[in-house]
């Protein structure tokens, strides 16, 4: 790729690329992110290529491995352009049919279409209910772009924001971001414009910008998806940020467990460098900036800004106490601006569309859109980008398609492990930074784990507290010892050893850990336990006082019995029981030997007559 020397040259190149894309209208996109690859998207691409070659269409129709457009549950998704016919859960064996029917004959393969609840097939991607209620700014090009090809990004209007920003003064760029009301998407919700401004105004020649891609929340993968599917949007945002702040060096701190994100990012950076969009004298403006990729060692706490910077400097990744904001003294004690992947990816959108347009989306204090990873007991698992202020109910039922198997919704856990659980009565809560904090949860980086009635909230609290205890760096006492104690007490409750005073003790410990910890990990470590205690206290009490797990999860507190009325003696459970603990005459109601039962629940799963009771 030729080096682009001026802004005008970039414009010419883009125009040429757009024309080129215009001429090749028929093409196939196959989502090829980690989530799709796990379901064999690689093989689908190969099969499609092979089929096209066989049919002699290889020159006319391009098969593009793209980012995941969010409906991860249905991957690999294959979309045939220009009609945008979306096929779900495509296997390599379907390649011949897709090419033969759709491409050649112009017919639709019904069986691969999405079928909504009423059995209607949906042809076009945009009509899928999953997408219909979303407003996709950051994810707008996911599923359209080949992340390893910068020309794709350029042709879709990429780096126009950079061109524009470079014609503005730094102050104007910061002003634009400030006016947009963009808040940090990593969880803190700090106003990005203000952060940039204080970093710009901080003393010192050398300044840094950092992209925080150390996404460690269980069940959250927005940042991974953005880096895998559209790395250039992040790079563009960082260049604009660096220009505004006056930084000459940027770092992306990304989890080593995201190999594809690292690969795509490194390719994208090299392409940007080759094009002259990174490096010395960017687009002839005299502005110099480059980005390096740094892979994290897998510590959750390194998502905390001071720990991340310590890790970048080569020290132990532990948070530090700081008087001064990192904007004034951060990496190597130089002014440093750290933003999350999603925040950076929002920057080009704002510059392109204008601050006022961006500020018109969302609520009074939370502007724009937010990506959530909607996982757990939900029909449509995937990444969801909605305007701030969208009610939880809409996200869960309209976009997420509700709870599978007709079960009852119980709670939604937002904000990752440090977040909290929101119960059903608060489902109409508009999701924004402040409202979630009010109910004892938080926005976090945007994880949403849906739980149904079969989820034990004490068990959930135990799981997340355990996660945080494992991830506690051990530097400060309350987090190091407090999380271990909370985990111990929660395990005791789950295993039937709960003591009546444990609830009060847990609450006390939780507040101590919250109030006295050094960093945000400790400061929020009690959230899962405190928020479940707040909304589901009765479950704790049932565990402790009645020795009963209402959701039937905690094995020490449940008993499996057979409903004599319903059991018809089919014997399936007896065959499956690993302990040979089910016995009974054929065609007669069976019974379970409680001494042998290890409460694995297999009998309940295999019983087709719902004859196995849990109590």
């Amino acid at each position: 790729m030729k080096k682009i020397r001026t802004i005008a040259e970039l414009g010419t190149l883009r125009a040429a690329l757009e024309r080129e894309r215009e001429s090749a209208k028929v093409w196939i996109s196959v989502s090829n992110e980690t989530c799709a690859r796990a379901n064999g998207s690689d093989k689908v691409i190969a099969a499609l290529d092979e089929e096209l070659r066989k049919q002699g269409l290889a020159d006319q129709v391009r098969v593009k491995g793209t980012g995941c457009s969010g409906f991860c549950d249905r991957n690999p998704m294959v979309v045939v352009f220009p009609k945008e016919i979306a096929y779900q859960r495509v296997s390599p064996d379907d390649a011949a049919e897709i090419v033969g029917k759709t491409l050649i004959k112009g017919q639709v393969v019904e069986r691969l279409l999405h079928h909504d609840g009423k059995g209607h097939a949906v042809q076009h991607e945009a009509d899928l209910p999953f997408y219909r209620y979303q407003k996709r700014l950051v994810l707008r090009n996911h599923g359209r772009l080949d992340p390893t090809d910068i020309t794709d990004y350029l042709a879709s209007g990429g780096y126009t924001a950079l061109s524009q920003a470079l014609t503005m003064s730094s102050e104007q760029v910061i002003e634009e971001i400030s006016r947009s009301g963009l808040r940090g998407r990593g969880g803190g919700g700090f106003l990005t414009g203000r952060k940039w401004k204080s970093c710009r105004e901080a003393h010192g020649e050398t300044k840094y910008v950092i992209c925080n891609a150390d996404e460690g929340d269980p069940g959250a993968y927005m940042d991974r998806s953005v880096l895998e599917g559209n790395p250039h949007s992040v790079i563009e945002g960082m260049i604009i940020g660096a220009y505004a702040i006056g930084a000459r060096m940027g770092y992306v701190y990304v989890r080593a467990e995201y190999p594809l994100a690292v690969t795509n990012l490194v390719i994208a950076l090299q392409q940007a460098r080759d094009c002259g969009l990174l490096g010395e004298n960017i687009l002839g403006t005299g502005f110099n900036f480059d980005i390096r990729v740094n892979r994290g060692g897998g510590a959750f706490v390194c998502g905390e800004s001071t720990a991340l910077m310590a890790s970048l400097e080569g020290r132990v990744g532990e948070p530090e106490v700081k008087h001064i904001h990192t904007a004034e003294s951060g990496l190597w004690e130089k002014p440093t601006n750290l933003n999350n992947v999603e925040t950076w990816a929002n920057v080009p959108v704002i510059i392109n569309k204008g601050a006022d347009w961006f500020a018109s989306i969302g609520t009074e204090k939370s502007k724009g859109t937010k990506i959530f990873s909607l996982v757990g007991k939900i029909n449509n698992t995937g990444l969801v980008e909605v305007p701030m202020g969208t009610p939880l109910r809409e996200i869960i039922y309209d976009i997420g398609g509700g709870i599978p198997h007709g079960k009852k919704f119980k709670a939604i856990q937002t904000g990752g492990p440090s977040g909290g659980c929101v119960p059903e009565e608060l489902l109409d809560l508009p999701v924004d930074f402040d409202r979630l904090t009010e109910v004892g949860s938080m926005m976090g980086s945007g994880g949403m784990i849906v739980m149904d009635e079969g989820t034990c909230m004490v068990d959930v609290a135990k799981y997340f507290t355990g996660f945080l205890q494992d991830e506690s760096c051990g530097k400060c006492v309350p987090c190091r010892e407090g999380t271990a104690q909370m985990r111990q007490i929660l395990s005791d409750i789950c295993e039937g050893r709960g003591r009546p005073e444990d609830i009060d003790l847990l609450e006390e410990l939780g507040h101590v850990v919250q109030d006295t910890s050094l960093c945000a990990l400790g400061g929020t470590a009690a959230n899962p336990m405190l928020s479940t205690l707040r909304h589901f206290r009765d479950e704790y009490e049932a565990h402790i006082f009645d020795h009963r797990c209402p959701a039937g999860v905690c094995t020490a507190l449940i008993r499996y019995t057979i409903d004599v009325e319903k059991c018809n003696g089919c014997g399936v459970c007896a065959k499956q029981c690993p302990q040979n603990g089910v016995s009974g005459e054929k065609k007669q109601p069976h019974s379970i030997d409680q001494h042998l039962c290890i409460r694995c629940g297999i009998c309940r799963e295999v019983c087709r007559f719902e004859a196995i009771l849990v109590n």
Binding site: A299, C473, G474, V477, L505, V512, T516
Partner: protein
């Protein structure tokens, strides 16, 4: 200079002072583990929580700088509860080792728990087993990982003060443990300090291990005699339980804070260099040579014999080799007795040592004597160097040599010269504390006290005059050098008699210009520089006196 209110009392402190230090000036102690005034702030123990008006949460005192008009409370219910809870956390994973732990009695976990603790256990204390218990990690330091509260002071000490980086904290969460880096030993020249700053019994002193329980120890302020830096120390002595510590009366030395000299630290050489005080080679009785043998004698006999021999010779036939291990007061008496009194002209004090002292750019100096500067200021040597005196002696010019302390036969001096000088001199009087080769060649031996057994003052290389105090009485019949000189002067009918070291120092200050204006009162416990100009105001110590340093 912000003015703030702490627990209702107003105080004005220098910029950037933290709340712990500000409270200290008011005599309010804010409990803490990881904070140490000599190290950077880590803020991880969460013990120094204070309540600050208008602040949403409790703040840590170590990391909160004082600002104008700040209102701090250190003793509210909320603060007390936070301390109690943090202590409970610390204890929930701390072994019940107190009976065998050397730190017991001076352990800040014990002390704060007694003050602020939650006395009943509410938790399941599943203590984490760690790999290193009672393991030596260097020549002087023992590590017990289970007792460690992971405050990181020792790590910061090795990173910031010695810059040798031997220690690190490994692992994470409650599996975190302190250890030396693989292949490393904690063997820097200041390693003993990590024991002092360890608030618990995780790092203990191998030399002191199991010697004496700390509550049997008495404490006396002194100055390290190991080199010319004159680090301020405390002598910890055991006088009541002689069966402990194999009879060692001086159990250990600890650094004492002095901002002008050593801050909070001392070197290992000085720290473990006190063993000569209770060593088996101590001379515990005056001795006279009768025939070929040195035999025990009384002070009366020995002093009379010395006086007789001194009187018998011409002062120009007397050579005196004084000792820079002597205090200013004693060196002054050497001058009064031999120079001013007898008119002796051949007085020296410095003897080169065999090996290089190995000074560094922190505390250790190459000169291993605490009072070389003082000896020079007091006016010794008069004319010649020790080498010249020995040359003259070997030529048979001296009838009497009075040697203080030095082992000339193991020194850096030309050995044949020493041999011939000792052989050619009729009477050799040796005055010192420990026996060595030179003592065997003496005709009269006067046993003197060590630095731990006498009072007085040393002048360090910068000219800071600092007090030492008697911690234990002189061993056997030994006497402080000033008393020996005083008695000798009496035997020689010099016409002077001193009541104590303060008496001598007063006269020293009057007669030696460099010391003018100084007195024991002016010296205080932090010392004062030579050339001191008294102001009209009453003498106020420049720094608050820190006796307990953690």
């Amino acid at each position: 200079m912000p003015t703030l209110t702490i627990d209702g009392q107003q105080v004005t402190v220098p910029e950037k002072t933290n709340v712990i230090e500000a409270a200290k000036t008011l005599g309010i102690e804010i409990p803490h583990y990881c904070y140490h005034p000599g190290l950077s702030v880590a803020g991880n123990c969460r013990m120094c929580m204070v309540e600050i008006e208008k602040a949403p949460k409790l703040a840590i005192g170590c990391f909160t700088p004082c600002t104008e008009g700040m209102v701090v409370f250190t003793n509210t219910e909320k603060v007390k509860q936070a301390r109690k809870d943090v202590l409970e956390f610390l204890l929930s994973n701390h072994p019940l080792d107190c009976p065998v732990c050397d730190q017991a009695g001076e352990c800040w976990l014990q002390i704060y728990y007694m003050q602020h603790g939650q006395y009943e256990s509410r938790m399941m204390e599943n203590k984490i087993k760690k790999s290193k218990k009672a393991t030596s990690i260097g020549p002087h330091v023992n590590l017990d990982q289970e007792r460690c509260v992971l405050c990181g002071r020792c790590v910061r000490f090795c990173d910031e003060i010695t810059k040798t980086h031997e220690l690190g904290i490994f692992g994470r969460g409650n599996r975190e443990e302190l250890d030396v880096f693989p292949g490393k030993q904690l063997d820097n020249r200041y390693s003993g300090n990590v024991v002092d700053i360890c608030p618990v019994g995780a790092l203990t002193d191998r030399d002191f291990r199991f010697q004496v329980r700390v509550w049997y120890l008495g404490v006396q302020d002194s100055v390290c005699p190991g080199c010319s830096r004159g680090c301020n120390i405390q002598i910890h002595y055991n006088r009541n339980r002689p069966h402990h510590g194999h009879g060692r009366r001086v159990a250990r030395l600890k650094p004492r804070y002095n901002s002008h000299v050593n801050q909070f630290w001392m070197c290992d050489e000085g720290r473990y260099g006190y063993k000569f005080v209770d060593a088996g080679d101590r001379i515990i009785s005056p001795m006279l040579r009768r025939g070929a043998e040195l035999q025990m004698a009384t002070w009366g006999e020995t002093l009379a014999a010395s006086a007789e021999r001194i009187r018998a010779v011409n002062p120009s036939q007397i050579g005196v080799i004084a000792w820079p291990q002597l205090t200013n007061e004693e060196l002054y008496l050497v001058r009064r007795l031999f120079v001013d009194g007898l008119g002796c002209k051949n007085v020296s004090f410095s003897v080169p040592s065999k090996k290089d002292g190995g000074g560094d750019d922190f505390l250790i100096t190459a000169d291993k004597n605490p009072n070389t500067r003082g000896a020079g200021e007091i006016g010794l040597p008069i004319a010649d160097s020790t080498g010249d005196i020995l040359q003259a002696a070997s030529r048979g010019e001296f009838k009497l040599l009075h040697i203080f302390g030095h082992d000339l036969l193991s020194s850096g001096l030309d050995q044949p010269l020493v041999e011939s000088a000792l052989a050619a001199t009729e009477t050799v009087i040796f005055q010192g504390s420990n026996s060595h080769l030179t003592v065997d060649r003496a005709d009269i031996v006067l046993p003197s006290a060590t630095f731990a057994e006498k009072s007085g003052s040393f002048t360090n290389f910068e000219g800071r005059v600092q007090r030492i105090h008697e911690a234990v009485p002189p061993l056997g019949d030994a006497l402080p050098d000033w008393q020996i000189l005083n008695r000798m002067a009496r035997a020689l009918e010099m016409g002077w008699d001193y009541q104590g070291t303060e008496h001598i120092f007063k006269e020293l200050a009057e007669n030696v210009a460099a010391f003018s204006g100084l007195s024991y009162c002016v010296l205080g416990d932090q010392g004062e520089l030579l050339g001191y100009k008294p102001t009209n105001e009453a003498h106020i110590p420049t720094e608050p006196v820190t006796t307990v340093i953690i």
